[in-house]
Symmetry: C2
Subunit: 486 residues, 2 copies
């Protein structure tokens, strides 16, 4: 018997049908050249033979209800592996479109609290000699960053002879991850919960937070416009994913003297502007993004992140000017962080971003009040090496994240090899055309590239049209923009 930590318990206690509290990952693998027709089926049988489970994959709440269930874990001494490990297939023609439709459905369902809180779906029938894995795990067991680390256990940098299961007990490998220049929103939700538990800190830090945002480029929570993205959440999900070459994004960042993350935010900004504009829903005021930022770790292995709010400048038509404004807003947000300890900054993050959003659990609140921000955009460091699962190369690794009440869209970006892997997870009702964002992301990047390709473009800031595309730039897209989830 193990007591559940208060942060983790929060995810069990607050889960509803509208708000499943799990995170997921979609992995696209290439079949080895000589793979037999029953490759995936054989893999499935081999996985079912991996009956030894690490503690996290055996735990279940002692009582399945939401409140008592949050008190303690018990070990399931009779794990029904065939329940957790599932073999699925895509209907014809087996495009990425069919894959995203299936993942959207699988991500919307609640995990069964009578069992350990995870599922692992092996998916065959993906065109072009590929197959996929969609895995989901309850947020009470792990956050998104740790889920990435755990997934590393089944992968290797060279093709291997035997299969490793996600749930097998094994030492956690050394992490060939990118530097922690950013962090996931998941981690911050957890840090926010911690801050709320340290009640004595709250009045002091509230003062700090308000003082810290006097800068005109900085953003206060609840200063965001009301949009379709901030309606009450429903339970069904929509998921879209695509890879972009890090080289392309780095080249743009270098040209405009911006960070990689600034360019990612500018891509999201352009995509959201076009998405809302095309349905006449673009607010006059700029959208505000909540962006988790990692802090230097001073105290061991714990979470040390804060959340900054950034204006996305969606009220600006020119994409280069938008990037400039985002740079200024991010710089202002980071400046307010100077001189503070990681604990203070964690608490500021919680107060300015996650704290207010807990009000959204009051029925009707998110329908009536202005949102604290409009969208969460996370940038999670992933492995730099190309990886393999047994003898199948991992082509794409897309985070499938968790929209929260009043925040119907989550954009999480994971670095893997030479790519940035974008995973867009939305409420099926409130983000009805989620897949269009993929095309808009590409168009925005291409426009920034085109602007950069012109001499002195960065300085003269002439507007670039969105129909222009650069050519001759290295592109790496595992999932083409023309595919979409239904």
């Amino acid at each position: 018997m193990t007591f559940i930590a208060p942060l983790d318990a929060m995810f069990l206690a607050s889960e509803t049908r509208e708000h499943p509290m799990h995170v997921g990952g979609l992995h696209v693998f290439r079949l080895p050249p000589d793979a037999p027709a029953d490759y995936v089926h054989t893999l499935y049988r081999q996985l079912l033979d991996c009956t030894e489970l690490a503690p996290m994959y055996r735990r279940k709440p002692a009582w399945p209800g939401p409140l008592l269930g949050a008190l303690r874990w018990v070990d399931d001494d009779d794990v029904d592996l065939e329940y957790h490990v599932r073999l699925s297939a895509l209907p014809r023609p087996g495009r990425v479109r069919e894959l995203l439709a299936l993942v959207s459905r699988l991500h919307g369902g609640l995990l069964d609290r009578h069992r350990p809180l995870w599922e692992f779906h092996l998916i065959e029938g993906l065109e072009d000699n590929r197959f996929a894995v969609y895995a989901k795990i309850h947020h009470a067991l792990t956050d998104g960053v740790n889920a990435v680390r755990n997934t590393m256990r089944m992968l290797s940098v060279e093709p291997a002879g035997e299969v490793r299961a996600l749930w097998s007990p094994s030492p956690r490998p050394a992490l060939p991850l990118d530097a922690p220049a950013a962090a996931s929103a998941d981690t911050l939700v957890r840090a926010g919960a911690l801050a709320k538990n340290i009640a004595g800190l709250v009045p002091t830090l509230a003062g700090v937070a308000v003082k810290g945002v006097r800068d005109p480029d900085a953003v206060l929570p609840f200063d965001a416009p009301k949009t379709v993205l901030n309606r009450p959440l429903t339970g069904a999900r929509r998921f879209a994913a695509q890879s972009w070459s890090i080289d392309r994004i780095k080249a743009v960042a270098k040209e405009y003297d911006a960070t990689l993350n600034d360019v990612v935010l500018a891509m999201c900004s352009g995509a959201l502007r076009e998405y809302l504009r095309s349905s006449d829903q673009l607010p006059a005021k700029s959208l505000v993004a909540a962006v988790p930022v990692a802090l230097p770790r001073t105290d061991g292995d714990g979470n040390a992140v804060t959340m900054v709010l950034s204006r996305l400048a969606t009220d600006v038509a020119d994409p280069i000017e938008r990037l400039r404004r985002i740079q200024a807003s991010m710089r202002a947000a980071k400046d307010t962080m100077g001189g503070r300890t990681p604990l203070q900054l964690s608490a500021i993050g919680a107060l300015t971003s996650i704290g207010p959003s807990s009000l959204a659990t009051v029925p009707g609140f998110s329908a009536a009040a202005p949102p604290p921000y409009n969208v969460v955009i996370s940038n999670v460091p992933g492995p730099r090496d190309r990886l393999y699962w047994r003898d199948a190369e991992l082509e794409g690794w897309y985070p499938v994240s968790m929209p929260i009440e009043g925040q119907s869209l989550n954009i999480t970006v994971l670095s893997y090899g030479d790519n940035l892997e974008f995973g867009l997870t939305g409420c099926r009702r409130n983000v009805a055309h989620l897949q269009r964002l993929l095309g808009h992301l590409e168009d925005t990047l291409a426009t920034l590239e085109a602007g950069a390709a012109r001499p002195s473009a960065a300085r003269t800031m002439r507007p670039a049209t969105t129909s222009m595309r650069s050519s001759g730039t290295k592109r790496s897209r595992v999932i083409p923009a023309s595919t979409e989830a239904s």
Copy 2:
């Protein structure tokens, strides 16, 4: 806006993650001989074009929560048909085993209360040139018998040129159903809810019920032994299905001067006895089945059914003696019904069977108290004609029913054409080897046939071994006994 009737509201108010309140149907179709490879995909696209919906398929609760949600229906003016109508595929090798595994999963998930309460799954990749449909609908909208009638709307007795959608508005066809010799448990659950709402009737009828069961062959509720089938319910489901030729069952019934339903009960009894015996869990006392029985309709189109309790004689080793005891128990149960009005009998059914089981919603009750009965066995009249959906022949039609708290297994039998279609729906945890029941059902029937084939077998009642099988008897099994859901 429409107020929700109290009976229907009960199904919304009492739904939990452990106890989804929907009923389903699995339909197996044969592809026409000249079907192109994209036949099912084309069918799916055509169904998405059927955007006009009958009222039942547009309704959703005005508020998605369980209590307020039970007050009134609203029309969804923007039904997202791609959410409700889904195209899936079976993984290789596409056997019935893979089909049952998929249906088990789909039946375990809750319907989304933010949308009209139904799903329609088109499933391709079934071996032997077949495809399948699994449809589910909330019990607040319809009971199992009405669901069968509604499904008739999309079917025809001859191959048709164009596709009809389940949800399209159309007049309900005349019902080529078998005589109402039996009724579904679903209907009785609804009748039971009605009885509970007529509070004044309860004390009077409780006296009637107790008086009515003085016969030694009759069974009182809570006289059933405690078994693994009566543990607290969990949310995941297991489904198995198989067809048996009505001619085979009729021949056995004729030989022993029994009813068709007596033989169905004897098959279930033999199967349950073997299932429990093989895992050393067979109780010394006989299992008790709750069997819905239809009453003559005296007052229009409403429900007129009662529930009788029958001893299954699982404590008796000889299958022919078991059939005799079941006959006696059913006769005694029906005798107690003589002279009562349909309303009184509905109320007796509720009090003796459904009423007590509502105690099972008290946490821990079903874990501690003896169960009111052990298993629900329903026999639902279906169409006598072979039917078609567009140009695809309907080969099998299996009810996917609703286990209730403390009753982890539901066996519902639907007559279709020359077959009885058995659908076994169980709690995945409590009925861990559900699929074995299919083999045991066949073995029991074969043993009864073998006994009948011997001269005077019915009179001398020599024990027949379960390993014997009749030969030369017409068998019609769309789904072979060797397949099973994982």
